[in-house]
Chain length 131, copies 2
């Protein structure tokens, strides 16, 4: 299961708070029964344009990850919760909506399929599904 949440929040302080994001990445996996296999890695990014900055963070969980990328000036965030184990996606959406005080968001659940029968054999032309 790979849950994607992209949204706009109402509180830019949360979007720029490295320690808040580090603590969230550190504590959240246990809340949903995931096994953390690293410390959280959290960086402040400042791009070439002054308005282009934010915080990027990630924690590895067993063979997958949770990542957060914020864009402070837009009060926008990209969240990925990718896990081999099933989790309650609706609860995770609610949790992150609340943690980032999201006012508008979209969420998508992507099936990262294991079944070889569902995967195409390699051909010269890469297949590409737009979703």
């Amino acid at each position: 299961m790979h849950l994607i949440i992209d949204g706009y929040g109402s509180n830019p302080q949360l979007m720029q708070d490295e320690e808040y994001i580090r603590h969230l990445l550190d504590s959240y996996p246990a809340q949903i029964g995931m096994t953390k296999i690293s410390v959280p890695f959290v960086f402040r990014y400042v791009g070439s344009k002054p308005e282009d900055w934010g915080v990027s963070g990630l924690v590895f969980i067993a063979e997958s990850h949770i990542s957060i990328h914020t864009f402070v000036e837009r009060c926008y965030v990209n969240i990925d919760v990718f896990s081999c184990k099933d989790f309650n996606a609706e609860q995770v959406i609610k949790d992150f909506r609340d943690r980032f005080q999201l006012t508008r968001f979209t969420s998508r659940l992507i099936n990262r399929d294991w079944d070889p029968a569902h995967l195409a054999e390699v051909s010269e032309t890469p297949q590409l599904d737009l979703v």
Copy 2:
């Protein structure tokens, strides 16, 4: 743009080679014009079941990331190339198909939408699109 590639390879040596994956994460962003903002983080994971092990790696690029999770016994890999900048998805698919000698795979390109008009306002019931 967020490109997902999930596939089975023919060479388990590549799937377990931490240095190969580290080098790939270190060198690949520049090949597609992305700005690396961290060193690659690469871990070997061993789960509770003996057949459940692999290598997880990630490099942060400007406000996004490239991640790789391998499952050596299955010769299976999950790859995410997530970037705010456009890239040539077909070329990236070919590159990773070749780097991991994939024989079967699926690839999906996800639009991580910025436009607030396309994002739903928050309601009590989280919306969830299955893709």
